[in-house]
Every structure is written in structure tokens, then in C-alpha cells.
């Protein structure tokens, strides 16, 4: 479902990703952990082209994009859009559209991008709101919701485009601890339904319980990869051990 080959990315002259290879099966839930600034978020943002990689190749559900700094042709921009349509994204800061109601936040993209009829889009949105437990909030505005509720709307908004994979970029980091569970519960449910997911998080418990595979990213490389059992109980790398001992005692 996802294949990444030798992904390289630098900001100005600071290298952030130094050659990442990754491959992921349909229905697999992968969690990325690692210290801040290790490149895990950048990796995720490269996958749906919010950052353009300097080199390497990304393939999601058969759509491929080559990295490189150049002006994109119309054809390449269309490829880019196709890639984004296959990858739903959930942001740390939710990024709901404050001028639109909850239901409009969800229906706008299907209508504008896919040309879905208003009625169909609304039915879809209401079904998704039920799924994230916010069916009563359809007409509210984002500012009237708690952080946890906003993030659940953001998940519903991404799901409305019916993506093949879901990318989560630290979805609970901006939330108070008591609000994190409601978001994690929705994510857990998505994993159970067989969604292909790539999650950047500091929630070690979530990684341990839900992930099929955990990647430890360090210094712009995938330093270690394995089942949660392997990574958490028997890490091979000193850096992984060091990171986990700090992360788990926190």
C-alpha cells in the first residue's frame, strides 16, 4: 500500500531525512516514535506532499511521485493531488476551518474536489459524525468545541474523502491528557476496521496496544523497526533504549 524508497529532505542546508526506506501492507497500522526533531513529522508531511522531498520515490496505492527540486509540470501536480486524495491527514493543531460549521468542514472537500452532491455529502458527513461520536454537534462551529471534539471532527473530515491510508501527525500532543482518550479511542476503532495507518505519536501505550509495527526514527533515519513487543521489551539499539527509558518514565 505504501512504499518509500531512499527519501531525502533538507531544510536549507540542514539534512532532516537522510534516506528513509519504508514499506507497509494494506491494513497495517505503523507507529513512528523518536525524539523531537528526528524527522518523523517531516517524513509524514512528505508522504502527502506538504513537504517536497529532495530525492527518493513515494508510492501510495499505485500512485508514484519522484522527489526533486524543480518546477512541477501540470501532470506532476495532478499526480501530487492524486497522492493526497489517497492519504488523509490529521494535524497536531486540528486545522479545522473556523468559518465553517462542523458539517460544512466535512462536506466542503467532497463537494468541491469530487463534485459530490450536497445531499450525499451531508449523509456521508452525518454517518462519519456518528462514527466519531459527535452527531449532535453538526451545526456547531469549531470554536464552540473542545480540543478533543475538534480533533475528532478533523478525523471525520479526512475520512470523508475516503482515503486509502490515514496519516496522523501527533494527533493528541495539543490536547489536555483527559481529552486524549476520546481521540485515541476513535483511532483504535479505525485500526480495528482495517484502515492502513501511519501515526506519529508520543503515546507509548497506544503504540504498544494498537500498532502492528513500530519504527524508531533517529537522526533522519529509521534506526530500528519491529513489533511493539520487540521494540518496547527488547530494543536492539542503545539510542532506542535511551529514548524509551526517558519516554516511559515521563
Amino acid at each position: 500500500m505504501i512504499t518509500v524508497e531512499n527519501l531525502v529532505k533538507a531544510f536549507q542546508s540542514t539534512p532532516v531525512l537522510k534516506g528513509i526506506d519504508h514499506s507497509q501492507q494494506r491494513g497495517e497500522a505503523v507507529v513512528l516514535i523518536g525524539p523531537s526533531g528526528c524527522g518523523k513529522s517531516t517524513f509524514l508531511r512528505c508522504l502527502n506532499q506538504l513537504e517536497l522531498p529532495d530525492s527518493g520515490r513515494i508510492t501510495i496505492d499505485g500512485v508514484s511521485i519522484e522527489g526533486g527540486r524543480r518546477r512541477r509540470t501540470a501532470e506532476e501536480r495532478e499526480q501530487q493531488r492524486q497522492l493526497r486524495l489517497r492519504a488523509g491527514m490529521v494535524f497536531q493543531s486540528f486545522n479545522l476551518f473556523p468559518h465553517l460549521s462542523v458539517i460544512e468542514n466535512i462536506t466542503t472537500a467532497p463537494m468541491v474536489v469530487k463534485g459530490m452532491a450536497a445531499g450525499d455529502a451531508e449523509r456521508l458527513a452525518r454517518r462519519l459524525l456518528v462514527k466519531v461520536g459527535l452527531e449532535t454537534k453538526a451545526d456547531a462551529y469549531p470554536s464552540q468545541l473542545s480540543g478533543g471534539q475538534q480533533q475528532r471532527v478533523a478525523i471525520a473530515r479526512a475520512l470523508a474523502m475516503e482515503p486509502k491510508v490515514m496519516l496522523f501527525d501527533e494527533p493528541t500532543s495539543a490536547l489536555d491528557p483527559e481529552l486524549r482518550d476520546e481521540v485515541l479511542r476513535v483511532m483504535r476503532q479505525l485500526v480495528e476496521e482495517g484502515m492502513t495507518m501511519l501515526v506519529v505519536t508520543h503515546e507509548m501505550q497506544f503504540a504498544r496496544d494498537v500498532a502492528d509495527r513500530v519504527l524508531f526514527v533517529d537522526g533522519g533515519r529509521i534506526a530500528e523497526s519491529g513489533s511493539p513487543e520487540q521494540i518496547f521489551s527488547n530494543p536492539q539499539q542503545a539510542r532506542t533504549r535511551e529514548f524509551l527509558s526517558r519516554a516511559l518514565t515521563r
Binding site: L50, L96, P98, A109, A158, M161
Partner: protein, 515 residues
């Protein structure tokens, strides 16, 4: 009378003056800063012959800006003033046994400035009329003026006042010609702030004739082969010196001095030097003063039903101009900001250069270029369209900057979220960024609209007669700066305040329930 002065500052100056008048401060601010021989606003108030002798100087008020051939900077030696009135003042002062010192003052504010003791006398093409004599005391005449029609060399059949009917005719603001033609009626009267502009439009074919005081015509139009004097001068009148009513001793001394200079032939010598001597000056001898009784001062506030409708008619033009110019600015500004933020590189540069150039140059110059500059290349926009274009394109730059600030205040995450959902760049801008930016942008755009509304008074320099211009015209003929000023300011406020209330309401409504 003449207004041979470029009154470019007068429109904005008048509005400012309104406020000054309303707040009860000094009237008729002296516009200082001319050639060095002109006195700056003198600290001690001027007054009376005794005072003049004690001081050793006769302070005389005049406007040397575009003042040829009356009083103007010597083209060969710009720090030195010359002109037939300048030399007359020197000669008169010598008679009084003192030196003469010119005090620079905007022409149409000379009488208020005299009244507030900025100088002892006005010697600057002030006509000997009952109107003026109701306000101040006037000397024996020192010059006989007449009105002259000037046309293009090719024009035939405009030689008399009646021939001007139905034609577009240019006059100087506040001049005798303006009042004459206003009384005549039935023609398209265009009012210009200075001499050069009316002749430019005459040559460009925007108007058919210019009517003005003979001395000015002699100086500005005679040397131009494209222009000619059409018909004989008519509507004779006298220039005389104005002093305050209480300075009867000074008046008598000046009258004696004028008589002596005329008798000695000194007047003729001076006038010949500047090419303004003619047979008509013989009439000075025949002048017999008529007694003018002082009528009560006009209070335009008490007679508001006569004046308010005139002002309101000007206000209609102001509103039309402002609304149309703002509509242009709002749309053109949007095009500019989209070019600048999302366009290809050359478009970005173009939009940025436009904004910088427009913001870095005065609106006045832009209006002149659009109205007079373009007309020289053959594009002759009517004044109304030139005014809308000038104001609109000027404010477009400022709206573009407002939009840019608004758009850039929307967090990047909003665009990223839209792109991540598969929207194209344009869809993200149109559906997500612009609607949010709109709210941010409404207050500054409304402020700009109110500013434009008030700035629109500047278009009087390209012959538009709008609210401030009507105020200026009425104030200079009634001398009631306060009453008219209160009414004019009231109209401006009455129109701009609802606009700001509306904007406030709109802003609140748009913010309703949203983040």
C-alpha cells in the same frame, strides 16, 4: 480680479480650514514660505500707519505662487520677486517713507488674513467691488483690468461673451470671470486651480475657450502660438489696495501716494515694463468713488435653506465619486494581491512594483498625469472618469496591501489542511483562505473608504466640483467660513459616520459564532 495663483493646496487646505474654523481657532492661516524676500508669518500683529512708521516696513499681502505678471519670483533670479505690483508696492512704501515687505498668503484667503493682522494691506489684483468693500476698506484704483477671451488659434466665431453660450469654458477658481460666467449661465463652466492647466485643456480640445483677466492672458497666452486673443477685452473693473476699516489714516496716505505716482507717470513706467499698460489706464483719472454702505455680514447658518442645497448637490458628486472609486479599488486590489501572492514571477514583480510606485507618489501627481498627462498623448478622459480612475487606482494599491495582510494572517495550517484534502491551490484560496481573510480585512478597508471619501476633495484640481470645492466657492464669496464650514463638516460627518457604523455591524455579524 485675478487669481493668477496655483491653488493646488487649496482643496485640502479648505477642509483643514473648516476644522480650524469649527474649533474656533485662527482663520485664514498664512501660507508662508516663498521667496526669501517674503516675510514669514510675522510675530507682531500689523496695524496702522503709526505702527508702520515705527516698524519702518509696510507689510503687504500677496500670493506669488503662479503670480505672474503681478508678483512672482524672477525666473533669472528666483530668490528675488518681481512684477508690476511688486514694484508698485516698493514705490508706495517709498512714498510713506518706509520699506516694503511682501507677506506670502494664499490668494483666496487674503481678506481673512488681513483681518487677523497678518499684514497691513492687500495689494494683489483685489477688485474694487461692493462685495469686497462691505468687508474691508479699499483705496483709489491703481489699475484698470478687463476680461479677455482666449481660444485656440484655429477657432473662429468666439469673440464675445454671448458666443460662449453652450461651450465648455475654463476659468480660474474664484476669479471675476468665474462669477461673470456663473451669472451668464447656459454654458459648461470648468474651474481650474491655476493658469497653466486651463490652457493645457484648451490646447487639448477639452474646452473651447478660457476667460480671464487681461494681464494674466498677456503673460501666459500671448506668447503661445497655439492660442489667440479672441475679440476685444470687456467687463472693465479696477484693482485697488485693501486695508482694514479702522486704518483710515493709512488708507488716506495710500490714496495720496497712488495719485502722486499716477501724476508723475510712475505707474505708466511700471506697467509698460511688464507689458500691461494700455489706453484703458486713462480711466483711472475718471474714477469717482461710490459710497458703499456696510451691509450686515451674511450668516449662511441663518440662511441655511439657501446654502445647504448647494452644498448637498456637491455632496452627491462626492458620494458618487467615492463609491465608484472604492468599487474600482476593491476589485483592482484583489486582482493585484492575487497576482502578487499566487501569480507567476513576472506578475508578482509587476504587482509589487505597481503597489510601491503608487504608494510612493502623491495622489495629486497621479491625478495630473491621468488628466493632463494622458491628454497630451491623445487619451482625453472626462474629468469625472479621470477622477474615479485616479482615486480608484491609488486606493487599489492600499487595498491590495490590506488584503495581503489579511491573507497572510490566516495560519498556514488552513491552507495545508485544504491541500491535504485534495483541493487545488486555487480552491484552497477561494474556499478557505479568502473567506477568512475577508473578516480581517473589513475594518481597514472601511477605514480606507472613509479616508477616500474625504480625500476625494483633491479632485477639484482637475475641475471636478464636489463638496469641498462648493464650500470653497461659497466661502470665498460670502466670507462665512464658520457657518459654511459647520454645514460642510456636518455633511461629511453625516455621511461617513453611518459608513463606519455599518462596517462595525458587518464585522460583528461576520464574526458571529466563528473562531
Amino acid at each position: 480680479m485675478s487669481d493668477p495663483r496655483g491653488r493646488l493646496r487649496s482643496s485640502t487646505h479648505s477642509l483643514w480650514l473648516t476644522l480650524v474654523a469649527v474649533s474656533g481657532l485662527l482663520l485664514g492661516k498664512t501660507v508662508s514660505g516663498g521667496p526669501q524676500t517674503a516675510a514669514m508669518d510675522s510675530g507682531a500683529p500689523a496695524g496702522g500707519l503709526d505702527e508702520i512708521h515705527r516698524r519702518g516696513e509696510l507689510l503687504w499681502g500677496a500670493d506669488a505662487e503662479g503670480g505672474a505678471p503681478y508678483v512672482y519670483p524672477d525666473p533669472q533670479k528666483p530668490e528675488q520677486l518681481i512684477g508690476f505690483e511688486f514694484e508698485l508696492a516698493e514705490a508706495l512704501a517709498a512714498r510713506l517713507g518706509v520699506k516694503a515687505r511682501m507677506v506670502q498668503n494664499q490668494w483666496d484667503q487674503l481678506i481673512p488674513a488681513l483681518e487677523r493682522h497678518n499684514f497691513d494691506a492687500i495689494l494683489n489684483g483685489l477688485e474694487l467691488t461692493a462685495e469686497n468693500q462691505q468687508r474691508i476698506a479699499m483705496s483709489e484704483p491703481y489699475f484698470v483690468y478687463a476680461q479677455q477671451i482666449v481660444t485656440r488659434t484655429s477657432t473662429e466665431a468666439i469673440t464675445r461673451l454671448e458666443h460662449l453660450k453652450g461651450k465648455a469654458v475654463g476659468v480660474l477658481s474664484s476669479s471675476v470671470a468665474q462669477r461673470l460666467l456663473e451669472k451668464t449661465g447656459g454654458l459648461d463652466l470648468r474651474i481650474y486651480p491655476g493658469n497653466v492647466e486651463s490652457f493645457l485643456d484648451l490646447k487639448a480640445g477639452r474646452i473651447e475657450a478660457v476667460l480671464l483677466d487681461l494681464p494674466i492672458a498677456l503673460h501666459y497666452a500671448r506668447p503661445d502660438p497655439a492660442l489667440k486673443f479672441s475679440g476685444e477685452p470687456f467687463a472693465f473693473g479696477y484693482y485697488a489696495i485693501g486695508v482694514r476699516r479702522e486704518d483710515a489714516v493709512l488708507l488716506a496716505a495710500l490714496n495720496r501716494a497712488i495719485k502722486d505716482l499716477a501724476a508723475e507717470g510712475a505707474l505708466e513706467r511700471i506697467y509698460r515694463k511688464y507689458g500691461v499698460w494700455d489706453e484703458r489706464q486713462q480711466r483711472l483719472k475718471d474714477y469717482r468713488p461710490e459710497t458703499v454702505k456696510e451691509s450686515r455680514r451674511i450668516s449662511t447658518l441663518r440662511e441655511w435653506p439657501r446654502y445647504l442645497p448647494l452644498l448637498l448637490r456637491g455632496a452627491v458628486t462626492t458620494v458618487e465619486l467615492s463609491v465608484l472609486a472604492m468599487a474600482l479599488a476593491v476589485v483592482a486590489g484583489l486582482v493585484l494581491v492575487l497576482m502578487r501572492l499566487y501569480g507567476l514571477t513576472p506578475l508578482r514583480w509587476l504587482a509589487q512594483a505597481y503597489v510601491e510606485v503608487i504608494r510612493g507618489t502623491p495622489l495629486l501627481i497621479q491625478l495630473f498625469l491621468i488628466y493632463y498627462g494622458l491628454s497630451q498623448t491623445g487619451v482625453r478622459l472626462p474629468a469625472f472618469f479621470a477622477a474615479i480612475l485616479g482615486l480608484g487606482l491609488n486606493y487599489a494599491a492600499s487595498e491590495a496591501e490590506n488584503y495581503r495582510a489579511g491573507i497572510q494572517s490566516i495560519p498556514r495550517g488552513q491552507t495545508e489542511a485544504a491541500l491535504a484534502l485534495g483541493m487545488s491551490r486555487w480552491q484552497a484560496v477561494r474556499r478557505i483562505v479568502l473567506p477568512q481573510a475577508l473578516r480581517v480585512v473589513i475594518p481597514p478597508v472601511t477605514n480606507d473608504f472613509i479616508a477616500l471619501f474625504k480625500d476625494s476633495s483633491i479632485v477639484s484640481v482637475i475641475t471636478m466640483v464636489e463638496l469641498t470645492k462648493v464650500y470653497g466657492m461659497l466661502a470665498t464669496s460670502t466670507y462665512d467660513y464658520i457657518g459654511l464650514g459647520v454645514m460642510t463638516a456636518g455633511i461629511y460627518f453625516g455621511l461617513s459616520y453611518p459608513a463606519s457604523v455599518f462596517a462595525h455591524w458587518l464585522e460583528k455579524r461576520l464574526c458571529h459564532d466563528h473562531g
